[in-house]
Symmetry: C2
Protein backbone atom coordinates (compact mmCIF):
# COMPACT_ATOMS: atom_id res chain seq x y z
CA UNK A 1 0.00 0.00 0.00
CA UNK A 2 1.13 3.53 -0.77
CA UNK A 3 1.38 6.28 1.80
CA UNK A 4 -2.18 7.28 0.90
CA UNK A 5 -4.99 4.75 0.39
CA UNK A 6 -6.10 6.61 -2.73
CA UNK A 7 -4.14 8.22 -5.57
CA UNK A 8 -6.79 10.96 -5.74
CA UNK A 9 -6.25 11.71 -2.07
CA UNK A 10 -2.48 11.77 -2.57
CA UNK A 11 -2.84 14.22 -5.46
CA UNK A 12 -5.06 16.57 -3.47
CA UNK A 13 -2.66 16.42 -0.51
CA UNK A 14 0.29 17.18 -2.83
CA UNK A 15 -1.53 20.25 -4.13
CA UNK A 16 -2.30 21.63 -0.68
CA UNK A 17 1.20 20.81 0.56
CA UNK A 18 2.63 22.90 -2.30
CA UNK A 19 1.16 26.04 -0.68
CA UNK A 20 3.57 28.05 1.51
CA UNK A 21 3.49 27.11 5.19
CA UNK A 22 1.29 24.04 4.69
CA UNK A 23 2.93 20.71 5.57
CA UNK A 24 1.70 17.27 4.56
CA UNK A 25 -0.16 16.60 7.82
CA UNK A 26 -2.03 19.90 7.61
CA UNK A 27 -2.69 19.29 3.90
CA UNK A 28 -4.23 15.91 4.70
CA UNK A 29 -6.41 17.45 7.40
CA UNK A 30 -7.64 20.14 4.98
CA UNK A 31 -8.33 17.63 2.20
CA UNK A 32 -10.28 15.30 4.50
CA UNK A 33 -12.24 18.33 5.74
CA UNK A 34 -13.17 19.25 2.16
CA UNK A 35 -14.09 15.62 1.46
CA UNK A 36 -16.64 15.79 4.27
CA UNK A 37 -18.25 18.94 2.79
CA UNK A 38 -21.10 18.83 0.28
CA UNK A 39 -20.40 18.72 -3.48
CA UNK A 40 -21.76 22.27 -3.66
CA UNK A 41 -19.33 23.59 -1.05
CA UNK A 42 -16.31 22.01 -2.74
CA UNK A 43 -17.47 23.43 -6.06
CA UNK A 44 -17.80 26.90 -4.50
CA UNK A 45 -14.23 26.53 -3.22
CA UNK A 46 -12.69 25.50 -6.55
CA UNK A 47 -14.82 28.00 -8.51
CA UNK A 48 -13.71 30.91 -6.31
CA UNK A 49 -10.07 30.07 -7.07
CA UNK A 50 -10.64 29.51 -10.79
CA UNK A 51 -12.59 32.75 -11.21
CA UNK A 52 -10.00 34.68 -9.23
CA UNK A 53 -7.21 33.36 -11.44
CA UNK A 54 -9.05 33.97 -14.71
CA UNK A 55 -10.78 37.28 -13.92
CA UNK A 56 -8.54 39.15 -11.49
CA UNK A 57 -6.50 41.97 -13.00
CA UNK A 58 -3.64 44.05 -11.76
CA UNK A 59 -4.53 47.75 -11.82
CA UNK A 60 -2.93 49.33 -14.91
CA UNK A 61 -1.68 52.31 -12.87
CA UNK A 62 -0.81 51.14 -9.36
CA UNK A 63 -0.53 47.35 -9.94
CA UNK A 64 -2.72 46.30 -7.03
CA UNK A 65 -5.25 43.50 -7.58
CA UNK A 66 -8.54 44.69 -9.01
CA UNK A 67 -11.74 43.43 -10.63
CA UNK A 68 -11.39 46.00 -13.38
CA UNK A 69 -8.57 47.50 -15.40
CA UNK A 70 -8.32 50.30 -12.84
CA UNK A 71 -8.57 49.64 -9.10
CA UNK A 72 -11.20 51.45 -6.97
CA UNK A 73 -8.48 53.64 -5.41
CA UNK A 74 -7.10 54.90 -8.73
CA UNK A 75 -10.66 55.44 -9.98
CA UNK A 76 -11.86 57.29 -6.89
CA UNK A 77 -12.36 61.07 -7.01
CA UNK A 78 -12.05 61.30 -3.23
CA UNK A 79 -8.40 60.25 -3.06
CA UNK A 80 -5.54 62.76 -2.91
CA UNK A 81 -3.97 62.50 -6.38
CA UNK A 82 -0.84 64.41 -5.27
CA UNK A 83 0.49 61.68 -2.96
CA UNK A 84 1.73 58.21 -3.88
CA UNK A 85 2.62 55.58 -1.29
CA UNK A 86 5.15 53.02 -2.60
CA UNK A 87 4.63 49.53 -1.10
CA UNK A 88 6.07 46.07 -1.66
CA UNK A 89 2.88 44.10 -2.28
CA UNK A 90 -0.91 43.96 -2.31
CA UNK A 91 -1.13 42.93 1.37
CA UNK A 92 0.60 46.20 2.30
CA UNK A 93 -2.05 48.21 0.43
CA UNK A 94 -4.73 46.43 2.46
CA UNK A 95 -2.83 46.95 5.73
CA UNK A 96 -2.45 50.70 5.13
CA UNK A 97 -6.08 51.00 3.98
CA UNK A 98 -7.17 49.29 7.20
CA UNK A 99 -5.51 52.04 9.26
CA UNK A 100 -7.86 54.60 7.72
CA UNK A 101 -5.02 57.18 7.99
CA UNK A 102 -4.05 57.46 4.32
CA UNK A 103 -6.08 58.99 1.54
CA UNK A 104 -3.62 59.18 -1.36
CA UNK A 105 -2.75 56.75 -4.15
CA UNK A 106 -0.53 53.67 -4.09
CA UNK A 107 2.17 52.10 -6.20
CA UNK A 108 2.81 48.36 -5.74
CA UNK A 109 6.40 47.39 -6.65
CA UNK A 110 5.75 43.65 -6.58
CA UNK A 111 8.81 43.02 -4.37
CA UNK A 112 12.03 44.65 -3.20
CA UNK A 113 15.54 44.67 -4.68
CA UNK A 114 17.26 41.51 -3.44
CA UNK A 115 20.41 40.37 -5.28
CA UNK A 116 20.43 37.19 -3.15
CA UNK A 117 17.07 36.18 -4.64
CA UNK A 118 17.99 37.48 -8.09
CA UNK A 119 15.51 40.37 -7.92
CA UNK A 120 16.85 43.51 -9.61
CA UNK A 121 15.22 46.91 -10.23
CA UNK A 122 14.02 45.79 -13.68
CA UNK A 123 11.93 42.98 -12.09
CA UNK A 124 9.97 45.56 -10.10
CA UNK A 125 7.48 48.26 -11.09
CA UNK A 126 10.06 51.04 -10.66
CA UNK A 127 10.11 52.29 -14.27
CA UNK A 128 6.33 52.65 -14.16
CA UNK A 129 6.68 54.63 -10.91
CA UNK A 130 9.12 57.02 -12.60
CA UNK A 131 6.70 57.37 -15.54
CA UNK A 132 3.91 58.25 -13.10
CA UNK A 133 6.07 60.94 -11.47
CA UNK A 134 6.86 62.34 -14.93
CA UNK A 135 3.27 62.41 -16.15
CA UNK A 136 0.94 62.73 -13.12
CA UNK A 137 0.49 65.63 -10.69
CA UNK A 138 2.40 63.91 -7.89
CA UNK A 139 3.93 66.13 -5.19
CA UNK A 140 4.92 63.59 -2.55
CA UNK A 141 6.19 60.03 -2.68
CA UNK A 142 5.95 58.11 0.61
CA UNK A 143 8.30 55.13 0.76
CA UNK A 144 6.56 52.44 2.84
CA UNK A 145 8.79 49.45 2.16
CA UNK A 146 9.77 46.86 4.79
CA UNK A 147 12.39 48.00 7.31
CA UNK A 148 14.88 45.38 6.13
CA UNK A 149 18.18 45.69 4.29
CA UNK A 150 16.38 44.89 1.01
CA UNK A 151 13.73 47.50 1.79
CA UNK A 152 16.40 50.11 2.58
CA UNK A 153 18.30 49.31 -0.62
CA UNK A 154 15.11 49.70 -2.64
CA UNK A 155 14.26 52.96 -0.84
CA UNK A 156 17.69 54.34 -1.73
CA UNK A 157 17.49 53.17 -5.35
CA UNK A 158 14.09 54.79 -5.82
CA UNK A 159 15.31 57.97 -4.10
CA UNK A 160 18.23 58.24 -6.55
CA UNK A 161 16.02 57.52 -9.58
CA UNK A 162 13.45 60.11 -8.53
CA UNK A 163 16.10 62.80 -7.99
CA UNK A 164 17.05 62.57 -11.67
CA UNK A 165 13.45 62.56 -12.87
CA UNK A 166 11.98 65.51 -14.74
CA UNK A 167 8.75 66.39 -12.97
CA UNK A 168 5.44 67.14 -14.62
CA UNK A 169 5.10 70.36 -12.58
CA UNK A 170 7.48 72.96 -11.14
CA UNK A 171 7.05 72.23 -7.37
CA UNK A 172 9.95 70.11 -6.12
CA UNK A 173 9.01 66.50 -5.35
CA UNK A 174 8.90 65.60 -1.65
CA UNK A 175 10.20 62.13 -0.83
CA UNK A 176 9.35 60.81 2.64
CA UNK A 177 9.46 57.48 4.41
CA UNK A 178 7.24 55.97 7.09
CA UNK A 179 8.33 56.55 10.69
CA UNK A 180 10.36 53.79 12.32
CA UNK A 181 10.60 53.47 16.06
CA UNK A 182 9.15 51.84 19.14
CA UNK A 183 5.79 50.23 18.31
CA UNK A 184 2.74 51.68 20.07
CA UNK A 185 2.08 49.75 23.29
CA UNK A 186 5.62 48.33 23.49
CA UNK A 187 7.85 48.52 26.55
CA UNK A 188 11.28 50.07 25.93
CA UNK A 189 13.08 47.20 27.67
CA UNK A 190 11.69 44.71 25.16
CA UNK A 191 12.47 46.82 22.08
CA UNK A 192 15.59 45.77 20.18
CA UNK A 193 18.62 48.06 20.41
CA UNK A 194 18.71 49.13 16.76
CA UNK A 195 15.06 50.21 16.78
CA UNK A 196 15.46 52.01 20.11
CA UNK A 197 18.71 53.69 18.96
CA UNK A 198 17.07 54.93 15.77
CA UNK A 199 14.02 56.16 17.65
CA UNK A 200 16.32 58.41 19.71
CA UNK A 201 18.28 59.68 16.69
CA UNK A 202 15.06 60.35 14.75
CA UNK A 203 13.22 61.94 17.71
CA UNK A 204 10.50 64.47 16.84
CA UNK A 205 9.20 67.59 18.59
CA UNK A 206 6.78 66.82 21.41
CA UNK A 207 3.26 67.92 20.50
CA UNK A 208 0.37 68.32 22.93
CA UNK B 1 -12.99 50.76 -0.39
CA UNK B 2 -13.77 47.30 0.97
CA UNK B 3 -11.39 45.26 3.08
CA UNK B 4 -10.19 43.60 -0.13
CA UNK B 5 -9.48 45.54 -3.33
CA UNK B 6 -11.32 42.89 -5.33
CA UNK B 7 -14.53 40.94 -4.68
CA UNK B 8 -12.96 37.91 -6.37
CA UNK B 9 -10.04 38.10 -3.95
CA UNK B 10 -12.43 38.41 -1.00
CA UNK B 11 -14.37 35.34 -2.14
CA UNK B 12 -11.25 33.23 -2.51
CA UNK B 13 -10.01 34.37 0.92
CA UNK B 14 -13.42 33.49 2.44
CA UNK B 15 -13.18 29.99 0.99
CA UNK B 16 -9.69 29.33 2.34
CA UNK B 17 -10.57 30.86 5.70
CA UNK B 18 -13.47 28.37 5.99
CA UNK B 19 -10.94 25.54 6.27
CA UNK B 20 -10.08 24.41 9.81
CA UNK B 21 -7.05 26.15 11.33
CA UNK B 22 -6.73 28.72 8.53
CA UNK B 23 -7.26 32.32 9.59
CA UNK B 24 -7.92 35.26 7.28
CA UNK B 25 -4.28 36.41 7.12
CA UNK B 26 -3.05 32.94 6.19
CA UNK B 27 -5.92 32.59 3.70
CA UNK B 28 -4.89 35.85 2.02
CA UNK B 29 -1.26 34.69 1.85
CA UNK B 30 -2.31 31.39 0.24
CA UNK B 31 -4.62 33.08 -2.26
CA UNK B 32 -1.96 35.60 -3.31
CA UNK B 33 0.49 32.71 -3.67
CA UNK B 34 -1.92 30.87 -5.99
CA UNK B 35 -2.49 34.08 -7.93
CA UNK B 36 1.24 34.25 -8.68
CA UNK B 37 1.23 30.67 -10.04
CA UNK B 38 0.59 29.83 -13.69
CA UNK B 39 -2.94 29.15 -14.95
CA UNK B 40 -1.94 25.50 -15.38
CA UNK B 41 -0.84 25.15 -11.75
CA UNK B 42 -4.05 26.68 -10.40
CA UNK B 43 -6.06 24.40 -12.68
CA UNK B 44 -4.11 21.38 -11.38
CA UNK B 45 -4.96 22.50 -7.86
CA UNK B 46 -8.70 22.91 -8.42
CA UNK B 47 -8.90 19.78 -10.59
CA UNK B 48 -7.26 17.62 -7.92
CA UNK B 49 -9.91 18.74 -5.42
CA UNK B 50 -12.82 18.34 -7.83
CA UNK B 51 -11.73 14.88 -8.95
CA UNK B 52 -11.18 13.80 -5.37
CA UNK B 53 -14.65 14.91 -4.40
CA UNK B 54 -16.38 13.35 -7.40
CA UNK B 55 -14.37 10.12 -7.74
CA UNK B 56 -13.24 9.17 -4.24
CA UNK B 57 -15.18 6.34 -2.64
CA UNK B 58 -15.34 4.95 0.83
CA UNK B 59 -14.41 1.25 0.86
CA UNK B 60 -17.62 -0.85 1.03
CA UNK B 61 -16.13 -3.08 3.74
CA UNK B 62 -13.80 -1.03 5.95
CA UNK B 63 -14.97 2.53 5.07
CA UNK B 64 -11.53 3.99 4.42
CA UNK B 65 -11.06 6.27 1.40
CA UNK B 66 -10.37 4.41 -1.83
CA UNK B 67 -10.25 4.86 -5.58
CA UNK B 68 -12.39 1.75 -6.07
CA UNK B 69 -15.33 0.17 -4.34
CA UNK B 70 -12.91 -1.91 -2.27
CA UNK B 71 -9.73 -0.43 -0.82
CA UNK B 72 -6.30 -1.99 -1.58
CA UNK B 73 -6.11 -3.42 1.95
CA UNK B 74 -9.45 -5.24 1.77
CA UNK B 75 -8.56 -6.48 -1.74
CA UNK B 76 -5.05 -7.67 -0.81
CA UNK B 77 -4.34 -11.39 -0.46
CA UNK B 78 -1.29 -10.70 1.69
CA UNK B 79 -3.21 -9.23 4.64
CA UNK B 80 -4.24 -11.28 7.67
CA UNK B 81 -8.01 -11.66 7.24
CA UNK B 82 -8.46 -12.86 10.82
CA UNK B 83 -7.61 -9.54 12.47
CA UNK B 84 -9.52 -6.25 12.30
CA UNK B 85 -8.20 -3.01 13.73
CA UNK B 86 -10.99 -0.55 14.68
CA UNK B 87 -9.96 3.11 14.21
CA UNK B 88 -11.68 6.47 14.39
CA UNK B 89 -10.79 7.86 10.96
CA UNK B 90 -8.84 7.54 7.72
CA UNK B 91 -5.77 9.36 9.11
CA UNK B 92 -5.46 6.64 11.76
CA UNK B 93 -5.35 3.95 9.05
CA UNK B 94 -2.49 5.81 7.39
CA UNK B 95 -0.66 6.32 10.70
CA UNK B 96 -0.83 2.61 11.55
CA UNK B 97 0.15 1.62 7.98
CA UNK B 98 3.19 3.90 8.28
CA UNK B 99 4.42 1.94 11.31
CA UNK B 100 4.74 -1.21 9.12
CA UNK B 101 3.83 -3.27 12.22
CA UNK B 102 0.28 -4.28 11.30
CA UNK B 103 -0.77 -6.65 8.54
CA UNK B 104 -4.45 -7.23 9.25
CA UNK B 105 -7.61 -5.44 8.09
CA UNK B 106 -9.16 -2.19 9.31
CA UNK B 107 -12.58 -0.86 10.21
CA UNK B 108 -13.06 2.93 10.16
CA UNK B 109 -15.84 4.06 12.51
CA UNK B 110 -15.98 7.63 11.19
CA UNK B 111 -15.83 9.11 14.69
CA UNK B 112 -16.29 8.18 18.35
CA UNK B 113 -19.36 8.23 20.58
CA UNK B 114 -19.68 11.77 21.95
CA UNK B 115 -23.02 12.81 23.48
CA UNK B 116 -21.70 16.38 23.84
CA UNK B 117 -21.33 16.63 20.05
CA UNK B 118 -24.55 14.68 19.41
CA UNK B 119 -22.68 11.63 18.05
CA UNK B 120 -24.37 8.36 19.03
CA UNK B 121 -23.55 4.73 18.10
CA UNK B 122 -25.98 4.85 15.15
CA UNK B 123 -23.95 7.69 13.58
CA UNK B 124 -20.88 5.45 13.44
CA UNK B 125 -20.03 2.31 11.45
CA UNK B 126 -20.62 0.03 14.44
CA UNK B 127 -23.50 -2.03 12.99
CA UNK B 128 -21.37 -2.79 9.94
CA UNK B 129 -18.53 -3.89 12.25
CA UNK B 130 -20.91 -6.31 14.00
CA UNK B 131 -22.04 -7.65 10.60
CA UNK B 132 -18.39 -8.21 9.62
CA UNK B 133 -17.78 -10.18 12.84
CA UNK B 134 -20.90 -12.26 12.11
CA UNK B 135 -20.02 -13.04 8.50
CA UNK B 136 -16.20 -12.90 8.12
CA UNK B 137 -13.51 -15.19 9.55
CA UNK B 138 -12.42 -12.63 12.16
CA UNK B 139 -10.65 -13.98 15.25
CA UNK B 140 -9.32 -10.78 16.83
CA UNK B 141 -10.60 -7.23 17.06
CA UNK B 142 -7.99 -4.62 18.04
CA UNK B 143 -9.53 -1.44 19.44
CA UNK B 144 -7.25 1.45 18.41
CA UNK B 145 -9.42 4.43 19.31
CA UNK B 146 -8.09 7.66 20.85
CA UNK B 147 -7.18 7.48 24.55
CA UNK B 148 -9.85 10.01 25.50
CA UNK B 149 -13.08 9.65 27.43
CA UNK B 150 -15.00 9.43 24.15
CA UNK B 151 -12.59 6.80 22.86
CA UNK B 152 -12.95 4.78 26.07
CA UNK B 153 -16.76 5.02 25.92
CA UNK B 154 -16.73 3.80 22.33
CA UNK B 155 -14.30 0.98 23.22
CA UNK B 156 -16.65 -0.16 25.97
CA UNK B 157 -19.75 0.09 23.79
CA UNK B 158 -18.12 -2.00 21.03
CA UNK B 159 -16.86 -4.50 23.60
CA UNK B 160 -20.41 -5.01 24.92
CA UNK B 161 -21.91 -5.30 21.43
CA UNK B 162 -19.31 -7.84 20.32
CA UNK B 163 -19.83 -10.00 23.41
CA UNK B 164 -23.45 -10.55 22.37
CA UNK B 165 -22.58 -11.25 18.75
CA UNK B 166 -22.92 -14.71 17.22
CA UNK B 167 -19.62 -15.50 15.57
CA UNK B 168 -19.15 -17.02 12.13
CA UNK B 169 -16.78 -19.63 13.53
CA UNK B 170 -16.44 -21.55 16.81
CA UNK B 171 -13.18 -20.01 18.15
CA UNK B 172 -14.00 -17.34 20.75
CA UNK B 173 -13.38 -13.77 19.54
CA UNK B 174 -10.36 -12.06 21.07
CA UNK B 175 -10.85 -8.35 21.80
CA UNK B 176 -7.69 -6.36 22.50
CA UNK B 177 -6.73 -2.71 22.73
CA UNK B 178 -3.52 -0.91 21.84
CA UNK B 179 -0.99 -0.48 24.65
CA UNK B 180 -1.08 2.79 26.56
CA UNK B 181 1.89 3.97 28.54
CA UNK B 182 4.99 6.13 28.49
CA UNK B 183 5.84 7.09 24.89
CA UNK B 184 9.13 5.78 23.48
CA UNK B 185 11.91 8.32 24.12
CA UNK B 186 9.98 10.16 26.87
CA UNK B 187 11.39 10.98 30.30
CA UNK B 188 9.26 9.72 33.21
CA UNK B 189 9.36 13.12 34.94
CA UNK B 190 7.61 14.77 31.99
CA UNK B 191 4.94 12.07 31.60
CA UNK B 192 1.55 12.97 33.05
CA UNK B 193 0.48 11.17 36.22
CA UNK B 194 -2.46 9.28 34.74
CA UNK B 195 -0.37 7.81 31.92
CA UNK B 196 2.47 6.93 34.29
CA UNK B 197 0.04 5.41 36.81
CA UNK B 198 -1.59 3.26 34.14
CA UNK B 199 1.77 2.18 32.78
CA UNK B 200 2.61 0.75 36.22
CA UNK B 201 -0.76 -0.97 36.64
CA UNK B 202 -0.55 -2.46 33.14
CA UNK B 203 3.11 -3.49 33.38
CA UNK B 204 4.20 -6.45 31.27
CA UNK B 205 6.83 -9.18 31.69
CA UNK B 206 10.36 -8.04 30.90
CA UNK B 207 11.64 -9.72 27.75
CA UNK B 208 15.28 -9.85 26.63
Amino acid sequence: MNQYPSILLGNAVDQFASLPGIGRKTALRLVLHLLRQSDKDVEAFTDALKTLKSDAHYCRICHTISDQELCPICQSHKRDKHTVCVVENVQDVMSIENTGQYHGLYHVLGGVISPMDGVGPSDLEIDSLVTRIETEEIKEVILALPTTMEGDTTNFYIYRRLQNTTLHHSTPLKISQIARGVAIGNELEYTDEITLGRSIINRIDFKV
